[in-house]
């Protein structure tokens, strides 16, 4: 038997119908190819967030100096969609995120794994448009 995304019963009284709408629905979508993912103010420096964009999972980061970066959310070593939950920092000045699974470090700029040359995760374009953060996956 395969249980796909077994759903929780709700005991919090949160408005799930509202939660199920995506941010893009609410904002009416971005420019051509760009998808708004969250309000600009919601992306905290050094605290990544995951977004679902055109069926792809994207990890979006804002560094301490204000830089915006987006990588594929999937950790290639464990296969889990978790890179957005890693610790953001620097290595020799280059902004990085460490996988929360086994701590391999990836460059936020190039997506290259700095601990295992040859392994790279995809990078995506990301920008602030008005009050929203937007990501483009293709």
């Amino acid at each position: 038997m395969t249980i796909l995304g077994h759903t929780a019963l709700d005991h919090t009284g949160l408005d799930h119908a509202a939660l199920d709408r995506t941010y893009a629905d609410e904002t009416g979508g971005g420019g051509p190819g760009w998808t708004p993912v969250c309000p600009d103010a919601q992306l905290v420096p050094e605290l990544g967030a995951a977004a679902l964009v055109a069926g792809r999972q994207v990890a979006v980061f804002r560094t301490f100096d204000g830089g915006l970066y987006a990588l594929g959310n999937r950790d290639p070593f464990s296969g889990a969609q978790v890179l957005s939950r890693g610790i953001v920092g620097t290595r020799n000045g280059e902004p990085t995120v460490a996988s929360p699974m086994h701590k391999q470090v990836f460059s936020l700029v190039t997506g290259a794994c700095l601990d295992d040359p040859g392994i790279t995760v995809p990078t995506y374009r990301v920008r602030v448009a008005g009050a929203a953060i937007e990501v483009k996956v293709a």
Partner: protein
Amino acid sequence: MSSRIVVAGFGPAAHRLVETLIARGLRGDLVVFGEEPRPAYDRVALTSYLSGRSVAELTFPVPDGVTLRLGCGVVAVDRDRRVVVAADGTREPYDVLVLATGSAPFVPPVPGRDLPGCFVYRTIEDLDAIRAAAGDAVAGVVVGGGLLGLEAADALRRLGLRTHVVEMGDRLMPRQVDEGGGAVLRRHVESLGLTVHVGAGVAAVEAGEDGRVARLVKPDGEAIEAQIVVFSAGIRPRDELARDCGLPVGERGGIVVDEGMRTADERVYAIGECALAAGMVHGLVGPCFTQAEVAADRILGGSAAFRGADLSTKLKLLGVEVAQFGETRFEDAAGALDVVYMDPVAGVYKRLFVSDDAKTLLGGVCVGDAGPYGTLRPFVGKTLPASPSDLLFAGAGAQTELPGDAQVCSCNNVTKDRIVAAIVEEGLTDVQGIKDCTRAGTTCGSCVPMLKRILVESGVDVGTALCEHFAHSRAELFDIVAVRGITTFSRLIAEHGTGRGCDVCKPVVASILASLGNGHILDGEQAALQDTNDKFLANIQKNGTYSVVPRIPGGEITPEKLIVIGEVAREFGLYTKITGGQRIDLLGARVEQLPLIWKRLVDAGFESGHAYGKALRTVKSCVGATWCRYGVQDSVGLAIALELRYRGLRAPHKIKAAVSGCARECAEARSKDFGIIATEQGWNLYVGGNGGFRPRHADLLAADLATDELVRTVDRFLMFYIRTADRLQRTSAWLEAMDGGLDQLRAVITEDSLGICADLDAQMERHVAGYVDEWRATLEDPDKLRRFVSFVNAPGTPDPSIEFRTERGQIKPIPVTVEVTP
């Protein structure tokens, strides 16, 4: 080369001889007779046996190729026939005989010295006997205020006796310290509750009605009521075998040997405390080791010589550092100048002797702060690196480089040059490597800080830097954060680091900030420092889901609460498993389910179990005296109280604990960071245990504590650990790496030798008062809750990559395909 070597005596000296002979490829038979029933052990560390070190830990490893005849003394030597006669009547022929019979404590010939209740302090058996007698005793007297006497006095004190020290001389430790130092030492000793009688001998030991020791009478008629008397008034070489077979002995004892450690008979050597070498009997282990090495070399055809030894000593007795080095017997001060530094308030006395042109260091005495010992002893006989008064202040001299021929380890006679050569040739990178290669630091350990310095001087990165962002160790960062009142990572790294941190330093700083009580770990900037587990207050699993572990203090839970856990697991489709820490793990929760699950649990009265944090995990317990027919104390009650006291306490690594209700130890407390075992009188506290990767039994830190004493001791133990441990260092490794080990730990937290106990106590009080349940606080804060989603732009959507199958009636993750293996 000789074919049959017989050794009489198996103490440290004989052990070193045997080890050296075998390491250097001796061929032929080696037979060792030992009067004691066990192989040679570390007599220098004898007292640690009373604080829980086992005989096995004290015993030196015996190399292969030695025939041991233990519990069997040599009673006679027939030099003409070249045989020794053993106590069991057997005869053993020799080509070479080595006498290594050591010494015996001197017991002055006073009436009553043989009464039951009189002891000496030399062997494991002596300590067993003293410990057994201490049970019924109230007070004890040690006769002799020298190094060994004070050590014995400390032991009596720790056994809970009112303790007196009687010393013939006019001050304590007359051989090591001068009058000024003796006075400071005495004040220290008295402040610990010991009564010191100097300038006093013993007239008699008198028995009570039961025929056991009841009092010791001094020559002035004063009687000291005591049930135990320990004689420690010097040592006498055990030279009786030599005397009986006609070998020359000294006027005051000791087998006369030449510089090759050979007696008047060229086939007979004498080494260690039984030998009279270079004009004296050496009562310190260092020279005994050197003598053993010299004899081994001669037996193998070499020409090594023993021409006397450095008798410098540094020790810590009753929490007081005492050190003496070089020449310090200048009663008339002829040919020497002295400089004295004295601080009666702090209890520090230091005196240096220099040549009369004030250029050459001759020796020194320190009490209360032995700092100059490490830095200055190597300069004895050499030009002073700075002015004498500068050198006497703590820290001065620490920066001066040692001369190459300076002897760094006096126990094993290792010079700086030899250590540096070993570092370079063997590519050593740590203190352990130096110990293995050169033996330096393996005996009394007082030179270990020096070894670290030499590593640094030799350009070895001793690895205290946390990562590329901080050149500090965790303990140094802790001090910086605490002392400067830093509350944010941004300020810390701006002022003391470089870059923006990484997955090594950020969680360390997060943990330090949390230990110092900086609010919720997900507040403001702190959230970005946390590992994913702390970020989501749950443990990440291999498929990106999390596990939930509610706290079940002491493992005690009501049926109602058990039912709630069961219901929550069923409703959210979680996998359940009982953990080793006596609680229940709920696995397979997605990020967005965590608040929903915790809402249910918090409403039912559960709190975070911190299974995700480097923090106190659980205090396990057995059912204890309430139910168990063997139990002597309420182990469950104590475990709950401790778990509630320390819940949420962040630390360098996880902390596990347990409480057993009696010595049967069903809670496995000795495998924990701190473990408590009930006794009839109270609680025994064990620390530094570990299961897991490197199992280690916890060491007994204190015995028979009342509950409030226990709590205070654990408070200090934990806070001292939190302050000073390295990143991810469990208490076991921390304790093993501590200079001075368990004794040092005890000095710090029970005798307040660093003067930090008030601070440690206050810090723990702040922790206890400031505790809030992290999950409850998170549920009350919409900003924090907003992060618990799989997707910021689709908060209601679960991560579609997470899939489960069922196995044995529960869910199990479907493995994902990975293109790389880590």
